[in-house]
């Protein structure tokens, strides 16, 4: 029980966002961190301005995290809809198989 509760506690970013247990959160934060480093580094190499490169890094973090989050959540939502359709289809097949309401039943012309 204690191990389960420890596992489920997770890490809260800024004390509010539970990264471990929220789908897509961990990937988005990691992608954001990567994007931030790349953006800041590229800007610094191009301009040699440290402070401005930090600002660009932060902006890169925002945009990479947001973009990665939206993409992952959209995929997740599509998957959930598909899962729901499959679940309903399995349930309906069990209920309606062999009856007149079975959508896979071939209708006879003389019926």
């Amino acid at each position: 029980m204690k191990e389960e509760s420890d596992k489920r506690k997770g890490m809260k970013f800024l004390g509010i966002l539970d990264i471990q247990n929220t789908p897509c959160a961990r990937e988005s934060i990691l992608n954001g961190a990567g994007g931030s480093v790349v953006a800041g580094l590229v800007h610094f190499l191009a301009t040699s301005r440290v402070k401005r490169s930090f600002d660009v890094g932060v902006a890169g973090f925002m945009l990479s995290t947001l973009g990665s989050w939206l993409y992952c959540r959209y995929d997740n939502a599509k998957l959930r809809v598909q899962q729901k359709v499959i679940q309903d289809g399995i349930k309906n097949k069990v209920i309606y198989e062999g009856t007149t309401l079975d959508p896979t039943r071939k209708t006879r012309g003389d019926a």
């Binding site: 509010i16 988005s28 600002d55 932060v58 973090f61 925002m62 939206l70």
Partner: protein
């Protein structure tokens, strides 16, 4: 049910609550990003040695901080409106239950097929058995079949009450003289707790709601047992009257 010092939502027990959870995560991530940005700007403003009192006409940043919030609001509004309309769908319920609020208990009526009704009082703390939850347990639970759309008609007999079960994503005010309708589907079996959510007097905190979702066969067995108990009570009352 909720656990001590809980900050987040309870685990979802209905499809609507799952959608609400996902939307909440989405909105929270956006809030988190904005908070990080604001925190960074505050630190930058406080730590800079640069001062310029005459910054004028910076068109680029003006455009950015006008367009970006509008885009963010659209990103929040679209899923929000989707789930708002999703919550209002009532898809051919299999069962209708009337939940009536009283001072200070709930009564439930299952009148679709037979006349079944009972009151649901909180179990006082001194009467709890080990393992039961303080201020949440009730003597009679509202039992519903799982994976079936259930319609709940909420009203009240005296003052305002509110029938709420967080894990099902349901909250509906009980107004005297008015029938409010809500619906849910319990996607998994279990016991789901809620509490009255509209101030209704001295014992407002002591009229919990307990919903028990069970497989259909168990629900049929439970309802037949309750109907038998009600019939036997009626027969006993009639016999007592005859004897008097």
């Amino acid at each position: 049910m909720a656990h001590p010092s809980q900050l987040g939502f309870q685990d979802a027990a209905s499809p609507v609550m799952e959608e609400l959870l996902h939307f909440h995560d989405h909105a929270l991530m956006i809030v988190f990003l904005i908070s990080t940005l604001v925190l960074y700007i505050i630190v930058a403003m406080v730590s800079t040695k640069l001062t310029n009192k005459y910054i004028l006409d910076s068109q680029e940043i003006e455009i950015v901080w006008t367009v970006l919030p509008a885009v963010i609001l659209v990103l929040i509004a679209l899923p929000s409106l989707r789930i708002l309309y999703l919550m209002d769908e009532i898809n051919d319920p299999h069962l209708t239950i009337k939940a009536m609020g009283h001072q200070w208990y709930w009564s439930y009526e299952y009148t679709d097929y037979e006349d079944l009704g009972f009151d649901s009082y909180m179990i006082p703390t001194k009467d709890l058995t080990p393992g039961q939850f303080r201020l949440l347990e009730a003597d009679f639970r509202m039992v519903v079949p799982m994976e079936s759309p259930i319609r709940v008609l909420v009203s009240a007999e005296d003052v305002l009450h509110s029938w709420a079960v967080p894990s099902l994503g349901v909250k509906m005010d009980g107004v005297p003289g008015r029938l409010n309708q809500t619906a849910f589907i319990a996607s998994r079996p279990g016991v789901f707790y809620g509490q009255c959510s509209e101030i209704c007097g001295a014992n407002h905190s002591f009229m919990p709601i307990v919903v028990e979702a069970v497989p259909l066969e168990h629900f049929e067995f439970w309802s037949s047992v309750l109907l038998e108990m009600a019939t036997m009570e009626e027969v006993t009352l009639m016999m007592d009257e005859d004897m008097c």
